[in-house]
């Protein structure tokens, strides 16, 4: 018998993944467009990329956890089709922004 509900972590970390994929691209643009942002990130850990990775992963974990606490600990209420669209859309958008930024803007 089919059971079409997913765990709350699946929904919350899926949404967090989509958000962080776009955040990752936005951070690339901010870092490449502003020397003060790049310099600040360099100062925090000694290398801008290390800070970038730690920041994006920390947001992924915290946002995923926070979303799973929503709605009295039941997590976000969206359909699985919407979740798949959100994950795929966020990942594709994030990667296309990075590829396009270095191709055209940088």
């Amino acid at each position: 018998m089919e059971n079409n509900t997913l765990s709350k972590s699946t929904y919350s970390f899926g949404i967090s993944l989509a958000v962080c994929a776009v955040l990752n691209a936005a951070l690339v643009i901010a870092k490449e467009s502003s020397k003060s942002v790049a310099g600040g990130m360099q100062k925090i850990t000694g290398h801008h990329w290390t800070t970038h990775v730690l920041f994006v992963f920390a947001v992924f974990m915290v946002l995923g956890w926070a979303l799973s606490r929503k709605n009295n600990n039941t997590g976000p209420v969206i359909s699985t089709t919407r979740l798949i669209q959100t994950v795929a859309g966020g990942v594709v958008a994030g990667i296309v922004i990075i590829l396009g930024f270095y191709l055209f803007a940088d």
């Binding site: 699946t10 993944l17 962080c20 990329w49 979740l83 990942v91 990667i95 990075i98």
Partner: protein, 153 residues
């Protein structure tokens, strides 16, 4: 010996591609019989990606500046200016995707069509993005090679 770090990086990258491909193939015919294997392979995908990422990241932060100088002086500066710059950033998304795969695969795939669709989507994206990273890596290595051939040190 230092170059062995890069070989380990590629080895785990290939491990990530192969295990994600296996998850994708198994999830097309998910049943109680292969449910445990899908869960373990999705964990193997995440583990391989983390190891490839940590080893490659260590190389990038500590040793890459030498390769970068060779590439930029050589005939293929785009190997750094485009391929390394993009790779070092989109692999962060790949790391998150690979980390998410075991979460998606933790649902009951045998009895849940939506969970199967999600796992197939995530595994397919891991395969495509990881292959893209492998391709970028090979172009970066070729950039160093043509740089050394043009300006022997």
């Amino acid at each position: 010996m230092i170059e062995a770090i890069l070989m380990v990086h590629v080895l785990f990258g290939v491990g990530c591609v192969l295990s994600a491909m296996w998850v994708l193939a198994d999830s097309l015919n998910a049943s109680q019989a292969n449910a445990s294997r899908i869960k373990w392979l999705s964990r193997a995908t995440a583990l391989c990606m983390w190891l490839a990422f940590l080893v490659g990241g260590y190389w990038y932060v500590v040793f890459y500046h030498t390769d970068k100088a060779i590439i930029l002086k050589g005939p293929w500066p785009f190997a750094h200016n485009y391929f390394m710059e993009t790779k070092e950033h989109f692999v962060i998304t790949l790391l998150l995707l690979a980390s998410y795969l075991p979460i998606a695969a933790s649902n009951n795939l045998a009895a849940n069509k939506d969970a199967r669709r999600l796992v197939r989507c995530v595994a397919a994206m891991v395969v495509v993005v990881a292959l893209m990273a492998e391709g970028h890596g090979s172009l970066i290595a070729a950039g160093v090679k043509v740089g050394l051939l043009t300006n022997p040190h």
